[in-house]
Symmetry: C2
């Protein structure tokens, strides 16, 4: 009889995984695949037989539903609901307010503050239990998601003693989504937000979006582009935004809006948007009051001002602090904050654009009101494949400073290149500013440790769109995931994060996880090699930033060209930012500055970022600079081919659909890596006058061919609205 049952069970299991409709990758890392290894399956089932989880609030309800659905899918099990522990294998979940069993755990509760949670094995009434506790409902939600992660990654449920809480307060996505549903630098279809159908129609995706974010600890989102349209502050659009906020609310996600600084003129009928004008101040105060009537937990404003043509306080002869403080004062009574971007540059072409943000903001340190936080990009140029950390980190001790990473791959191959950004994020976070001596990492600046900042945040420019798989490339989901994990705790390792993500998204099969994780871990360096090795930067195609464009010499202004940045000539290549050049190195603390001042001590990966270096310069490898550059470009392409080989071995280990999809995409990546390599090598050869060393395959075409290629309708390039 046991055999028969097992046979039938096996048959049914077989057919439950058979679908005429292929794997569509919509479910992200929350797939909750059935646990098929028998010992583990039985062990898990024994561990969650009973459930004590009183759930009255919307947040607790969604946490409980998530848990029940996931256990159903993974273990074919619904734990029996109970009020007291009467059996081994009881899950106890809640807050001190919902459960006296939780309230007992005073020590943990005192440690974890507002959003943290603990998961531990305990004994109640002599029975083995697992307890998930938190001080708040959202803490419970985070605890449940992390408990489910344990099951999804096939972790042991014995000896659980997890105490976890976020190190950063505001973990926020920035959507550069226009109201017409185009997405600036979006490579995954159009905007998720169906403004036309709002507020009446709540797309199920809004809820799945909130779920996915909550599962990795993201607790805020800016739904409209920093290049903002004033209309988003009209009552009609506030009503629409309120419907989104309502959908997100149970998942602990606060809604923010980007604002256009000149909105009082454009939709308010005022003559000025001068932040010191009393009428303007009143307009913003009234507008904030109105927003909070619709969205009581509204987060606040994100502002791009006096940058790339956006209006701002400087338009009226005021400085950034004056602009930010006016908005902050309007939000203050409601608890809202202002995220004021430091990505600015004025109309004059600077000697070095890398220096501008520091020059403008450093003098304002201490002048911002307490509910303003300055949002600084990871590097001083613009989300390049590799940048040294931004000199503003650590430089404004009296001002909260938050990180802005770009998750969407504007400069990293859009949604056709497999590039795991965990490594990029981590490289910046682990960089040492030396602001208070050794160990003053960027992570410690932005988590508030270094200067005891009460307001902290990390923003990621989202790579999420209407594509069924959310991010365009299956592996681009990993970058959304890694951003969330690192915003929760910047100390986490990209390796661990990749491991978890692969297990949850694909399979726990080590024969898949290990080689593919290695591929992910290497992928960012590979991309740097075939795009911008040795500190090269900003040499991509004009406007759309598609593919290589080291030859770009004409653009709206010189600091939008490539030649401004690489400065290749017959003598060498690179931007001299030491004291012999723009002296941008002076913006760093002495330990860093001294290292970068000297070409010999400058890390090879930043060589051409900081120095104009002779083509014949002897590199540590024994090659000269030209040969090293050629070597990097070729090795980048070779590495992509190795990624293809690795991937081809994964056939059969995962579903055919995603296997084929990634295979297609890697083939495109290989083509485009070659395109980068050939274009850049041929272009720079024009200056180095040295041959491509023997043994390297020759470019398919001449330089003119690459320079004259034309592309149309490149994603992400629509202007504002």
């Amino acid at each position: 009889m046991r055999k028969s049952i097992c046979f039938i069970a096996a048959v049914l299991l077989l057919f439950s995984t058979l679908h005429a409709w292929a794997e569509d990758n919509y479910r992200l890392w929350l797939r909750y695949e059935r646990v098929t290894e028998p010992a583990l399956y039985n062990n898990y089932r024994q561990s969650v037989k009973q459930l004590i989880f009183p759930a009255g609030s919307p947040t607790l309800k969604v946490a409980k539903t998530e848990l029940q659905n996931a256990l159903g899918q993974m273990l074919s099990l619904q734990p029996a609901e109970a009020n007291t522990v009467t059996a081994n294998g009881t899950l106890v979940i809640g807050t001190p307010q919902t459960s006296t069993l939780i309230a007992q755990h005073r020590q943990e509760l005192n440690t974890i503050r507002r959003e943290g949670y603990f998961i531990k094995n305990t004994q109640q009434n002599g029975k083995v239990t697992i307890t998930i506790g938190a001080n708040t409902d959202v803490g419970v939600l985070y605890g449940v998601f992390n408990f489910l992660k344990l099951l999804q990654t096939h972790s042991s449920l014995n000896h659980l003693a997890l105490i976890d809480q976020p190190k950063i307060q505001c973990r926020i996505l920035n959507h550069w989504d226009n109201l017409d549903r185009t997405v600036e630098r979006g490579y995954a279809g159009s905007s998720l937000w169906k403004w036309h159908k709002l507020p009446g129609y709540i797309d199920r995706r809004y809820i799945d979006y909130a779920r996915a974010n909550a599962s990795i600890g993201i607790n805020a989102t800016v739904v409209n582009n920093v290049n903002a349209n004033a209309l988003s502050l009209t009552t009609d659009y506030i009503t629409k935004a309120a419907a989104l906020a309502k959908a997100f609310r149970p998942y602990g996600i606060k809604l923010f809006l980007s604002i256009r600084f000149s909105a009082p003129v454009e939709i308010g009928g005022l003559k000025t948007a001068d932040p010191l004008d009393a009428g303007v101040q009143k307009w913003w105060k009234d507008k904030a009051d109105e927003i909070y009537r619709y969205i009581p937990d509204f987060g606040g404003f994100l502002v791009k001002a006096n940058s790339e043509g956006q209006p701002g306080p400087q338009t009226y002869g005021r400085n950034h602090a004056e602009g930010a403080n006016m908005l902050a004062d309007a939000l203050k009574p409601h608890g809202g904050i202002v995220m004021w971007r430091a990505f600015v540059y004025d109309d004059k072409v600077p000697d070095d654009r890398a220096k501008q943000a520091y020059n403008e903001f450093k003098p304002l340190d201490g002048q911002f009101h307490s509910n303003v936080i300055v949002q600084v990009k990871n590097g001083a140029i613009d989300f390049q494949p590799r940048e040294p950390f931004h000199p503003l980190f650590g430089a404004m001790p009296k001002t909260p400073v938050m990180m802005e990473f770009q998750i969407t791959q504007e400069y990293l191959g859009f949604s056709t290149h497999l590039v795991y950004l965990g490594q990029l994020f981590k490289e910046t976070l682990a960089s040492d500013t030396y602001a208070h001596g050794k160990g003053s990492t960027v992570a410690k600046v932005i988590d508030g440790q270094l200067d005891h900042q009460p307001l902290t945040g990390m923003a990621g420019v989202a790579n999420i769109g209407s594509d069924v798989n959310w991010c365009g490339h299956p592996f681009a989901q990993a970058n959304w995931y890694a951003f969330g994990r690192l915003a929760w705790n910047p100390e986490q390792s990209p390796n661990t994060i990749a491991d978890d993500w692969l297990r949850m998204t694909f399979t726990n099969d080590a024969a898949f996880v290990n080689p593919v994780k290695q591929m992910m871990m290497d992928s960012r360096e590979i991309t740097v090699n075939y795009m911008t090795p040795l500190g090269l930067h900003h040499i991509m195609g004009r406007d759309a930033h598609y593919g290589p464009g080291p030859w770009v010499a004409q653009a709206g202004r010189p600091d939008w060209t490539a030649v401004y940045y690489h400065k290749a000539d017959s003598a060498g290549v690179g931007f001299e930012r030491s004291s012999r050049g723009s002296n941008a190195v002076a913006q760093y603390f002495p330990e860093v500055r001294n290292q970068l001042e000297n070409v010999q001590t400058t890390p090879e990966k930043f060589l051409l970022w900081f120095h104009h270096v002779s083509w014949n310069y002897a590199m540590p490898s024994g090659r000269n600079l030209w040969q090293e550059m050629v070597h990097r470009y070729y090795s980048g392409v070779d590495s992509v081919r190795n990624m293809q080989k690795t991937w081809s071995l994964m056939q059969g280990k995962i579903d055919n659909e995603r296997f084929a999809e990634v295979k297609d995409l890697l083939a495109i990546q290989e083509q485009e890596a070659e395109w980068w390599r050939n274009s850049c090598v041929l272009y720079f050869q024009h200056f180095s006058k040295m041959p491509i060393p023997a043994g390297y395959e020759k470019p398919d075409h001449d330089l003119a061919y690459y320079e004259n290629q034309k592309f149309y309708f490149i994603p992400g390039t629509r202007g504002v609205q």
Copy 2:
């Protein structure tokens, strides 16, 4: 033991339907839900125990995979594969080329021609079999999909004797999709076609799109907008289109392209696009040759010429036949065809735009080459909620004429209104032209019966986009489905089609199917009532066509306004198209013309289409015209409220997600129906000077309020590209 097994099976069945990820409506009508009624489940399983289906070609392979996956999902069963019939319950599938068992059925095979199929119960070796046979691989595919439909709709598999074949050759979708992925009149997100990632990346949706189309007999698609960009004929874009064609090919779907008539100038470097110029003719011939090198089964060109600003032969002093024939000659050697649209009007504002297509095309009858087909919209204006049939149907006996329906709801509430278009399509198809006396229906014109045309077609302007649920509104999927079914056979009943669609898309539960089907069947008339009752037309908002705009008096040209069409004044309302007016009625055959000439015999539904009628005109209801109009607008809104009541009773009969989604959408529909009603009643009251009769709820606002409402970023309104 049986009990234990059944218990385990039940538990597994339960959990296989539990998903943390909600119903997303992606699977359309191909859901293949498990058959849960025990008797039916057993009966079906007994009927398909064995399978004889040799499948060597790509088309047979996809048919077989579809069958196997569907049986797995519906019946938890994989039929044993066999070469000979050795058991009762054998499925025999194939063509005479693949199976001698099929070749025996000479009579059926002789009847069904190229794309037909038969499904019948037979005896082989004394065993009960079901045989699905066809002359071609694609016929087998259609047979398999229709067999699966029998299972999905819980039909009996006894006494099967189906012989089915399409009545129309070219069953084609027209995508008004721009190369930048915006969609003109698209309300379901952006274009499916990811041109930037083509040809390297084949989105799984391309294949699911092809599957869905094949399942309802659609065999062709035009992937780019009729307002075409010449770039789509460059080698780069042909390569991309070829990748789409390759994905579609196994499903029997041919790819067509819209062309821009002036492409020889724009991308060919010629000085003219004059169709009589030898250089131009050669350019098109070379271009056709090139396309066929990449796409050997390319379908041909769709052309919008000399219409709404598009270039065309008249630009060079030539007529439509001369333009079409030049293109046809280029395609002819390869077997391609030209679909030349009759939706034209010149730069001069006509006395009656309704007459233009007939006036321009009727004189050209007989002048088109044999591989040209003229594509005529269902009515003479533009896809209004209701139009009389286009007078060109039946009027060009020497020319193949095909139908153009609009599936996307440009004038029917976008993707927020539930409007089943089966009724609209059928109304036109069943209209009698009297071209060869009584019974000369539009259906018989376009299926070629009436004038023995060898080339036939029906086009539908697609409502498909990147939204996860494909069409924006769950019920909009029914319009794609109904279009396909009616293109296959215009004689089919919209009721049957709705019944099949509901069963396949939602449930076979009669308590759901019957009331919801009635709602679908009524929905189009309801929409006519709250938008454009009694023959009113073209009174929607300017440009975006969003909501009411009877007051629109300023537009690019008078025949783009509303007042041009409704001609409301103190005397009455309506466009006089009898001999006392524009005499558009003269374009119809005498029986129709005479009926429409007289206000008394004109069907009430077309009253104001053909006549300017006094506000006091006595209607058959006993109301005067004004009262009748008010009555219709109010009853339209009341009917939507009844739809809401019907739908609210469906809770629990289907998944919560789609229930909630449709509920949201019906609430929007109710609001917008009120908006239409209030706007139109208040506007026309301005002329009728009569009160809204007692007992009707008063409009919430005055007319000025409605006239002054502003909307931004309305879907579907981006210009070309």
